[in-house]
Symmetry: C2
DNA sequence: AACTAAACAGTAACTATTGCTAATTGAAAA
DNA sequence: TTTTCAATTAGCAATAGTTACTGTTTAGTT
């Protein structure tokens, strides 16, 4: 008899809904929204619900199968410094801090060289544990 | 008599609400949310409304006084490629494309060197006109 | 002081996302 | 193969961030 452990990984099931969503995402590079994925999925599974799409997107992200493109949360943050500068986002506490390193214009040049388009500006964010949360986690 | 022109810039007024919001934003580096700004503003102007906060944030952003940190829209986009790679966001049509350039691990090293924290990964996005919109704008 | 369009407060509406519940189902065990 | 059961689902209600609307106020000009 095994004692319940917080290390125990929840068993994942491969459902046709999840499979469909993953196939849709893998077959495009257009970085679609949940709503678009939902519309596509309904072409294959007409009864799939939007909630299922969101739940599977979360699960797939958690398992490292896909990426979600936002700033760690769905609402906007505002920055009183309009000069371009880089940010560090703590994945634990959600804090957003400025990173004290110079902006690198050569990144934009490289992007233009590979045909990305006409670059006006760029954004760079680092994700990880801020010094405070890092200390807390260590024990 | 002057013909109405789409080039005419709307006259901006400096209201105490706008001034307060800008001061709040300029006095912090914590990248606050609209709601936090609203709460702070109410300490000075108890009757200010949340709508006013949002309206002024938009205006201030439009005038280049502040920055908004999101992916160009409030909802998430998903990416079927879980490998880190860079993105190009078209400010005109909103399309998100992959940028065909290698990921630069040294950026993370630099961020750690300046004390940002423990970096797990980073994200780099370029903003500008995609080749298609660029062609359209040119005439 | 008078004027007027910009901005306001208050509130309703909208939209992306999450939570809830009873029913269904994938996959492991029998 | 059948049984079993927790993971997952559909459908829908609820949240939450943001935007739109309306009548009133006000900054800045005349």
């Amino acid at each position: 008899m095994e004692r319940e452990s917080h290390l125990k990984r929840a068993a994942r099931r491969m459902t046709k809904q999840k499979k469909t969503i993953l196939e849709i995402l893998r077959s495009t590079t257009s970085h679609p929204t949940a709503d678009w994925i939902y519309a596509e999925a309904r072409k294959v599974l007409p009864d799939i619900s939007l909630g299922t799409v969101y739940r599977n997107l979360h699960v797939l992200k958690e398992d490292g199968e896909i990426m979600e493109l936002n700033y760690g949360s769905t609402y906007s943050r505002y920055d009183g410094n309009p000069q371009n500068h880089y940010h560090f986002v703590c994945v634990n506490c959600g804090a957003v801090r400025d990173v004290d390193m110079p902006v690198l214009p050569e990144l934009e040049k490289r992007a233009e060289e590979v045909g990305a388009g006409e670059v006006f500006y760029h954004r760079l964010e680092f994700y990880g544990l801020c010094p405070h949360c890092r200390k807390e986690k260590r024990m």
